[in-house]
Symmetry: C2
Subunit: 140 residues, 2 copies
């Protein structure tokens, strides 16, 4: 990759998500799929594909942000299990999935990727979800 000083959210992630705010390192996004409460953290660092591309301080901050967002998601959803994953086989920009799983969801116990076509959110429900999350994460 050519060196670059400017981070911008990958076009595919922009299309698939709702921006709910920034933590010190990462943008926090909601995936547009009502099958599961599904968040994403994207570290705002250009040319970063793997967790190991972050330096040690950034890696520590990423874990802090995974912890905060995971706790908020669990509190808001009362889910049965959290799934946390950095895959990136389709979209190379480093992004971390944080998914609230229920034993009754459409993919359980399989991972969520590729199982169900995305389901559109109810506009009011997703706004309530985002408001609760923003309060728990202490975003803005």
């Amino acid at each position: 990759m050519p060196p670059s000083s400017t981070w911008t959210l990958h076009a595919q992630l922009q299309k698939d998500t709702i921006d709910i705010g920034d933590l010190p390192l990462s943008r926090v996004l909601v995936i547009k799929d009502a099958n599961y409460p599904w968040l994403m953290l994207v570290p705002r660092r250009a040319d970063t594909v793997e967790i190991i591309d972050l330096d040690e301080v950034e890696q520590g901050q990423l874990m802090t942000e995974i912890n905060r967002v995971s706790r908020a998601l669990k509190e808001v959803t009362k889910c049965d299990k959290l799934n946390v994953a950095a895959l990136g086989n389709m979209v190379p920009q480093l992004h971390i999935h944080i998914v609230a799983r229920r034993k009754t969801d459409a993919a359980w116990p399989r991972p969520v990727w590729g199982v169900m076509p995305p389901l559109a959110h109810d506009a009011a429900e997703v706004q309530t979800f985002i408001s609760e999350l923003r309060r728990k994460i202490w975003l803005g």
Copy 2:
């Protein structure tokens, strides 16, 4: 879960893996599946299901160990992509998958879980792989 002071590796993980040594927090395991170079970290903390069940110091140490093991795996395999994931929908004991992916592997670009039946390792090949990994990770 009842409180417990003694950690032991979950029976299913014990069955599916080869123990290659301990880092300060986690046991390092190789998954018995030759479809992909596939490692696992299991923090040696009893009654721990989620990353958020670890305290902040343990979370930081987990990230340090993910970084070290990921770097070693990438150097040994020259893989195209790393997949790092804490899922735990089947086995509740906290465990982190670190998988070396190639664009030519059997599941690419899908995640590896549930795609291919496990393939037995060649005994000599897996021993070479483990020796190289142990040297890179600086395991004993």
